[in-house]
Subunit: 353 residues, 2 copies
């Protein structure tokens, strides 16, 4: 039996009607992987929701399939966003799939082409403006308000509708809601979407309980924790390097209403978690993703959690999304030895110390 | 209901017994995506088996989970391979997951660290020898023959056992065997594995028919098509740049027994297909993957296929595996304009011509 994608699978919970095209790249249906080693170590029952296995490599596909399907339903022929990363890749992929044009607006300040290559391969047209990112988003809003072009940045409300399906999947896979849902917080749309999803599934009788939502910003861009926007956010976790979250209120509400919290983790804690989940659990996620498990490690040290509680950590994107961080994080040079069995065996013994 | 991975799902068809650990990163269960645009264009019913959505980003996870589980069952504490690419990433991930050591042997000749960073992040130890790749494989064979270290290169027979599950999934998803299975051919283990899988599922009554197996080498490494090993294979599709396929006979048998063929495609045809599936279908696969659909396009031009026949094209790895090819393939510089609505609208109109 073939999985038919999010719009089909969860249509009764989504703004899907007879005129909505059943657009899909078979997004969603991502693994919920039990973290055996970390569960033992932290005396918890930890799972990773591995969103890096969405088609374009990040959770953004969930919201984008909904946003682009609605754009098609409304007769739009072009979508547009300001983005230098995962959003542009997802927008471009679904535009390609649906036969729409995709325009990506970026600031013209040393954007690494590698970050945009994925969107361009999918056929997006990239325009750089002589201005910063905020100005790019402003222009996207102006243009999409006046022309028959659909805005697909996170202010598009269908994005959160699509993203909430990840909460449905967690409940379907686990057979219940977890005690805690740990999630990286950047623009704060995703924690808002998960909370909406858990509440809707709960209301529909699909889950008897609700999780506590625990969101983690990076220290250098912890606007919500500090209580004020950050003019120049800085963190190694580029996907959550956001100084003024678009869905600030949604994140605060999710934390408060669920009895959870918004907290922060340092870059050091993020990189430690990033390497730990790869080398201990075999899961490669982009640095921003690791903020969720880094946060759980931090709270555990501070005495949170009861023994054996179920914690689902959202890993938002695949590690292959940011190969440069991977290269920087590993010891650069392999050991070089003679091409003999003895020399290699000797090297193995030294490496295993 | 949670997907439990390949060893659990297909245990009755695999060398799994009560002592085999149920190792998994939830490999497999990958999308079978209908290619709507290309199907119309080629008058065929084309699907992509998108193996890039395996946990480490390539089909290698299927064979590796089986090989590493059997190594654990046998009490091995260390696995070893000669590899500079997808095999080392898969080996390292499953070793991490299973708590084993992983040693990767490579030639010391300008291997790009990016290709190895994934394996290193998963915790593999990399040793470079003063010799070429063939010599590295030779030493791996010597060492694993004498020491309690398990070889996980493609000569490990459990690799093909795990890989054959992709054929099971194709039948389960499609509800039948396709008319054709199109697949890139490098080391030739994968075409051999699919054919074994289709035959076993057919024998078990799970599919009434068998597909014709059509395998495609890259022109610069088309050893099987030419009928002799190629000393210095060259192609943009690095994952199939192999001059002397390890499973040569298996590939020939699959083609002959199924009434299919082994053919080749040029680098130009590969890159054309690579860009076409991204921009027309929204699917980003590594260049080697595109050899399958490039081959179908080539055979179609030569008059093969009947109208409406079902063709499944295997896309072996995710496009994010080879970001440099993506960057090289796209027009490098975005259009730069003033930061005004009018300037951006003008640019959009020019781009959409």
């Amino acid at each position: 039996m073939r999985y038919m994608g999010l719009l089909h699978t969860y249509k009764q919970y989504l703004p899907v009607n007879a005129n909505t095209p059943m657009l899909t790249l078979q997004e969603g249906n991502t693994p919920l992987i039990h973290a055996e080693n970390l569960s033992n170590e932290l005396d918890l029952d930890i799972y990773f929701k591995y969103e890096g296995l969405n088609p374009t490599g990040s959770f953004k596909d969930r919201g984008m399939v909904m946003a682009v399907a609605k754009a098609m339903e409304e007769g739009s022929r072009t979508i547009m966003c300001a983005s230098t990363g995962n959003t542009s890749a997802a927008a471009a992929a679904y535009a390609a799939r649906g036969g729409l044009n995709c325009i990506v607006l970026i600031p013209n300040n040393n954007i690494a082409l590698g970050k945009l290559a994925q969107a361009i391969i999918y056929g997006a047209k990239v325009i750089a403006i002589e201005g910063n990112f905020d100005r790019a988003l402003e222009i996207v809003r102006e243009i999409t308000a006046k022309h028959p072009i659909t805005l697909v940045n996170s202010v598009n409300p269908f994005r959160i509708e699509g993203q909430k399906t990840a909460a449905f999947e967690v409940v379907d896979q686990l057979g219940k809601a977890p005690d805690y849902l740990a999630i990286p917080v950047g623009n704060a749309g995703n924690i808002t979407a998960y909370w909406k999803g858990f509440k809707e599934y709960h209301a529909a009788g699909k889950a008897l309980t609700l999780p506590k939502m625990i969101g983690f910003e990076a220290e250098g861009s912890a606007a919500i924790v500090r209580g004020e926007p950050i003019a120049e956010p800085e963190t190694v976790a580029t996907a959550i390097r956001i100084g003024n979250p678009a869905t600030w209120k949604g994140a605060v509400a999710a934390a408060q209403d669920s009895g959870g919290q918004i907290n922060y983790v340092t870059d050091e804690q993020i990189l430690h978690a990033y390497k730990t989940i790869a080398s201990r659990e075999g899961i490669f996620a982009e640095p921003a993703s690791a903020a969720s498990i880094a946060g759980v490690m931090k709270l555990k040290k501070e005495g949170h959690f009861e023994k054996g509680q179920t914690v689902v950590c959202v890993l938002t994107g695949h590690g292959l999304k940011d190969p440069n961080i991977a290269i920087k994080s590993v010891k650069a040079e392999p050991m070089v030895v003679k091409d003999s069995e003895a020399a290699v065996m000797d090297a193995i013994q030294r490496l295993q110390g």
